[in-house]
Symmetry: C3
Subunit: 312 residues, 3 copies
């Protein structure tokens, strides 16, 4: 039985550290914290070390902290940190743990959040370490699916786009294994989900299939999770142009899907979802971004020993 | 009859959207909010999207928010936003409206604040969109004139400097039309107030004249509003040197003005007002900057449903 | 007899402005403020003008302000300030004094904090002006020595490294003169303590000796204060490599010191203290950074008229 004490002072580094019950506990907490307006974190300080820029993650954490009466300190890009003077990440963390009640870290290097957690005496939240992990984004994605589909078990989720480099996809597919999901993975052949991840899904007996076209596979999709295909991944510009069009979701295509299909995207989106889709009642990508505040209020609250009010 | 409800949830995009009574209502609110120390905006979050740097506007809004117990999130320059990844402004705004109770935006492109307001479900405050509008600066300018001159109707205001590119001048001249002002516009000939604006003043029967020298026109000025002439506007460096000296206000010149004339400047100033003028009792440009906090407290308060205490 | 009123509204520019009793008063206040959790500075605003980047100083001030319920506004690097538009520091300060209850300033130019204080009507705290002064770091260093050694009078302090350029060393040696310290100054010959400072120590009859090797002088040291030797100070790379090794503190060397010797460093450290030393029970450099929050809470509180609770 999961309880608040499982979260107090805990590091949030990888989705692999969280089992089904813990994930559900966190989503329930997000439901409670969404409407939480008491200054539960007054006088608390979150140290946000963003060695790489971020709009959504950093701003939603700052908003979550502010709404609960606390404050954020830190930096929004690596240039102003003392890493520029040759300080190791371990040292930066051991300094900053004295300034904040928890540390939020985004860093270009894989494994940096885990390293930070080893050195810090306060909880560390991984806000993205290279192509590796971005666990709070996964919590937001799960929360969005449950809000939009009214359930989380047994969903058919179609992933579309760059499944090779997108860390949000990697974290999400493995986590959906806890919820008896059926996955369809649609990507250009050279942007398939990495082999190790496919093997992991097989070993855990997650039901997944791969495809190279979107239209034939969306008829019974509950969720379409779209990601951005970046030009810089392609050596041949022509290949990029082809991929860009082939892995695009538009209204014509959506007519072949269930009317209630939820369309998610971690954002920013460029061409892969045209503006015409925005008015689709289940175009959920902006709500997905907004849910980020509730989820991050819950994370901050739980790690710092606040459970949020049960208004039920 | 203007009331608080006219301001709750409202966008502040252009001074053209505000009539005489609304402007006076806002200035009265600034008087009340100046001494307001209650945490009226506790738990409230302002999302400050500054795609261009700003000292005065951003810091005075942050100060206003902090003094009322709320907090600001956001960025101070475009480089760390996801526009760099190709996100449209409309998308950024639709994300950020979930993080803040209102959006403050400065953007190099004209019309961007209006666009942001169309997409955002929360109030948007234009903090400068290119050469176009900067309405809260105009409110501050009006507030300063009323504080310094003890009235706002029937003032003779002499504008000096670059009247062609300065957005603060453009907003202010049209707004002064509501207050029966007499305007004298002094500038190098190629930095005259734009034709469309002059025509607008004529149509609205605002009493204005143009001049190319400051000294002959300041004898009965109530306000001298000076702006910076930027070197980069000139193709001929010699012309710049001449203009720099000709449109400079110094103490010798001020001896020809009324002793009570208020000297305003939106700042930063460079050479157009030498330091000797700073000790003039009516050199009001630093007070003008400071009034920015009271005015912006009022704006934040009113938009978010707080009227401020009537201590009268 | 020093009292709170000696600190209310005061500028903190140079350690030379503080006598022995005032320093002790400040350290006592830091003891009280360390555990202070009341929102004593709610609604207060500190304007942090960091024209040069800083991790420790800026973040610890932001943390201190946040823990006391106040907030920080400002900028973390000069690029986004209006100095870029040609504004003088005096003007920036006269604008910003209207936004904050005090001003924190870091600036590359010596004397800039003093200049800021002359123009500002609110207290100014020097957070580092070039190679000149960094008084709050000195307060933190003294506080650390008293915490780690349980006394401040009569300590033998060994300084190691770059004693020529390090502003933290300069402020600290002169201040230790108030506490009957014995100083040993160990540095490469061309990075000796500047002549004027050595003369000042002689005039004030501070007991100091100079050395070029660490090992022979640490047997009875109470404190070893290590600083970073920067490659860019050397014209000959070979000389740098030699210096780097000669002025390094490691565990073998520390076996020759008293077991209770406190090891301090203003951080960031690079090679001058290897990681093996971190587990030494009196490796105090990270605690030193953390004490920065208590000391800065005390500074902010005292300047703004709050004494902190006497829980004794």
């Amino acid at each position: 039985m999961v309880s608040n004490s499982d979260f107090v002072g805990r590091d949030i580094i990888s989705v692999g550290d969280f089992g089904r019950e813990e994930l559900l506990f966190l989503l329930d907490a997000a439901d409670r914290f969404e409407s939480e307006t008491r200054p539960l974190l007054a006088g608390k300080v979150a140290a946000a070390l963003f060695f790489e820029p971020s709009t959504r993650t950093r701003l939603s954490f700052e908003s979550a902290m502010g709404r609960l009466g606390g404050c954020c300190i830190g930096f929004a890009e690596g240039g102003v940190s003392s890493q520029a003077k040759g300080e190791t990440l371990a040292d930066t963390v051991r300094v900053v743990e004295g300034y904040g009640d928890l540390i939020l870290i985004r860093h270009p290097r894989e494994g940096s959040a885990r390293l930070a957690a080893e050195f810090a005496g306060v909880p560390v939240v991984n806000c993205g370490d290279g192509a590796h992990q971005h666990p709070t984004q996964t919590f937001v994605d799960l929360y969005t699916m449950r809000r939009e589909c009214k359930r989380l078990d047994g969903l058919h989720v179609v992933f579309v786009g760059d499944l090779r480099y997108g860390r949000t996809v990697h974290s999400l597919v493995t986590t959906l294994g806890h919820f008896d999901a059926r996955l369809t993975l649609v990507s250009p052949s050279f942007l398939r989900l990495p082999k190790e991840l496919r093997r992991e899904l097989q070993e855990r007996e997650v039901d997944f299939t791969e495809a190279q076209k979107v239209e034939p596979v969306i008829a019974d999709a509950d969720v379409i999770y779209v990601t951005r295909i970046q030009r810089e991944r392609f050596t041949d510009p022509l290949e990029f142009e082809k991929a860009k069009d082939a892995f695009r979701i538009d209204n014509t295509m959506l007519h072949k899907a269930q009317p209630g299909v939820a369309i998610l995207h971690p954002l920013p989106r460029v061409n892969e979802i045209p503006p015409e889709v925005d008015s689709h009642p289940h175009a959920a990508y902006f709500r997905q971004a907004h849910y980020g505040v509730a989820v991050r209020k819950a994370i901050l609250g739980l790690l710092l020993g606040q459970a949020g009010e049960d208004t039920a």
